[in-house]
């Protein structure tokens, strides 16, 4: 067992799979010689050669299309989209092609591509380096949508993604790459080196999709979240002293219905938190699941804390970000209801 940050865990997952399966290849902007702008593929080209790990033109559409084509010819490509904010030119290839190929061909053809892409804010990235577009993709049936919140999960889920015979979009909350972020930007950053989830096995292991993690057990309130917000929610829970159960979804599609439903039926109270903009966001889907399955057990209205419905503003990053204060206010409202 080694101590890894999230980038090292993601690198380790890719290295593990490159070693295990010679059909695995990596393509993307700057992923080759340079090892990626976040260094998530560092050293892989030197070790596995340009035939396995290579740079692409700045063409997200071309990257995903090429990856699909390569998968049809027997390979198992991992495509890096440098920022989730840049994924939109590939949307047609993802939503119309990768997601529908198995279905439309009556099962004759399918694609196994994994699309890795850093998402989320809190790094002073402005509106073009901070977005969380997962809700756009959870609405597309035929793809898996994953977002880990720590190094251990990141490696295990990424290995599952690479081994999956379905297309996967693997969102990496970049604010968590070097350490957990508790939603307090003025406090000194902490690394993963002392965090339990920073303990990552060197070899192969996998975490199944569709299984949420309960990161804090509690009796009074269920908080459903994922990605960076898992840690921010922890801070808010400590601020309020409420005995909350925190569910880290990890996998948005497929989603773990049972963990959500069992927890809310137990606590009778529910808060949903995500960094993405609120309206039409994935939180609305979670609310629906809770409402459909837990209505008679609810003791208070379900609340949602999310990014405001505005582009991620550079100068007002922390006003946009759904930080501990907004979350603790919501917790208090729910508990008082």
């Amino acid at each position: 067992m080694a101590q890894m940050n999230m980038l090292e865990a993601i690198l380790s997952a890719q290295k593990t799979m490159l070693e295990r399966d010679d059909k695995v290849i990596i393509l993307g902007e700057d992923v080759g010689y340079f090892g990626g702008v976040f260094r998530a593929t560092e050293g892989l080209q030197a070790e596995f050669g340009t035939n396995r790990v290579f740079d692409t033109p700045i063409s997200e559409n071309g990257i995903v299309a090429a990856a699909i084509g390569m998968s049809i010819n027997g390979l198992r490509p991992i495509a890096e989209i440098q920022f989730a904010d840049y994924i939109y030119p590939a949307f047609d290839q993802i939503a119309s092609e990768a997601a529908k190929l198995r279905y439309r061909s009556g099962g004759e053809y399918s694609t196994n591509i994994t699309i890795r892409t850093p998402c989320g804010g809190g790094i002073r990235g402005g509106q073009t380096h901070s977005q969380s577009p997962e809700g756009i993709f959870t609405h597309v049936t035929g793809i898996n949508v994953i977002m880990p919140s720590n190094p251990y999960d990141a490696k295990g889920l990424l290995i599952t993604a690479i081994e999956s015979n379905d297309p996967v979009i693997f969102f990496e909350p970049k604010r968590l790459y070097n350490g957990p972020f508790y939603g307090e930007p003025d406090k000194p950053s902490v690394g993963w080196d002392t965090h339990k989830k920073g303990e990552v096995p060197d070899g192969h292991y996998s975490i199944p999709f569709g299984e949420a993690a309960i990161t804090r057990a509690g009796e009074e309130l269920t908080i459903i979240t994922y990605g960076t917000m898992v840690h921010v929610v922890e801070t808010a829970v400590e601020m309020t002293g409420v005995d909350a159960e925190i569910i880290d979804l990890r996998s948005l599609a497929p989603i773990d219905y049972d963990s959500i439903i069992n927890s809310v039926n137990k606590t009778g109270r529910c808060l949903v938190a995500h960094e993405a903009t609120k309206t039409g966001g994935f939180g609305a889907e979670i609310l629906s699941i809770v409402q459909e399955n837990c209505f008679w057990k609810l003791r208070a209205p379900i609340e949602r804390v999310a990014g405001w419905d505005i582009p991620y503003p550079h100068a007002f990053e922390w006003e946009y970000f759904p930080g501990p204060k907004r979350i603790s206010n919501a917790i208090n409202r729910i508990m008082e209801a």
């Binding site: 290849i25 035939n51 692409t56 033109p57 063409s59 559409n61 071309g62 299309a65 090429a66 990856a67 699909i68 084509g69 390569m70 998968s71 049809i72 010819n73 027997g74 390979l75 030119p89 047609d92 290839q93 119309s96 092609e97 190929l101 198995r102 279905y103 439309r104 061909s105 009556g106 099962g107 004759e108 053809y109 399918s110 049936t141 035929g142 898996n144 999956s164 015979n165 379905d166 569709g210 599609a253 497929p254 989603i255 219905y257």
Partner: protein, 418 residues
Amino acid sequence: MAKNQNQFSGGNSLNQLYVPQPTARPDGFNDFSHLHIPDVEQAACPAIDCSPHDMRDLAYGLIRVLDDDGNAKGNWNCKIEPQRLLQGLKDMLLTRMFDERMQTMHRVGKISFYMKCTGEEAISVAHAAAINFEDMVFPSYRNQGILLARGCNLVDMMCQCLSNARDNCKGRQLPIMYSWKKGNFFSISGNLATQFSQAVGWAMAEAQQGGNRLATTFVGDGSTAELDFHSALNFAATYSPPVILNITNNQWAISTNQVIAGGEKTTFAARGIGFGLPSLRVDGNDFLAVYAATKWAADRARAGLGATVIEYFTYRVAPHSTSDDPSAYRPKNEEALWPLGDPIERLKTHLINLNEWSEEQHNILIEEIKIKLKKNYKQAESYGTLKTGDRPDVTTMFEDVYEDMTLNLRRQRQEMGL
């Protein structure tokens, strides 16, 4: 200030939005006399390892082999054995008559939709003849000639169009959106040009694995405007994979003439020049020319020399689809005046000139195909149609979204009572 008047114009701007128009609309006349059709013997045939830089003329000219009298001439005449030509003629005729049969079935309400490739048969059929069966095709929606030339079962194709119990796409796709994995024919999407860039990826994987197959893919003049077209040429130029990038310029994208896709000021083949790709412009109604150009590109790809762009200059005689009426946007007799003729008639004349074929044999062949189509259609319809008889099993409706059915899909299937 008047509406639409730019405050910076001062009333004397030289700028005017230019919206290109086709040569003629329904009330006009177009005999294509504005087209320059080069002589058959004009186009040079470079060696397959020729630098793209030294063969740029071929992107602006027109590679032809059959002259107006049906004789094979010029540098691109690769002297195809008569048996192969005869097979090509049969496959083209089968393609045309298959289309007519299915169009009729649409008219009587048996199928919901159809797309014919009338006048464009040589492109698919000659292309298929010049590559290997193992080569992977990433088709557009008007490449049924490739399926037929590769010997796809007629009943299977008809069942797909009928969305019946034997439809291999399980009733999920519009008619003609075929998928034939055993025939190395990729699933047709319906989203335009997406297959173009995927084919390049497939070919990259072939090179990566040291294989000897090539990928070939088709796009229309209209959809060269799509992002995927640019991505495909860019990746093909960057990685030099064994792929043939074919553009069927049939001049009409539904009602939109190729001038709106940027076809007025240059050729579609010339798009390849900026990427440093060898680019050929070919008479798409000339079976021998399509064959020769494809063969050249295939030999080049298999020699490890990378991709080739080929534009086939042709005319879409058929409506876009059964939902389209071209008389609303182009002159009624335009196709009759198309100067490059009909691909079947031209090859037939050539074979007659070679004493390999006769009008009598041709008429017998037509009758044989008619009987074959009738018999096959009868069998296909016995498996059901979209409206009557057996449809695909409805319980399969929730399958193949993922490899394993997810919980939400299982629950929705239960909710439907299946």
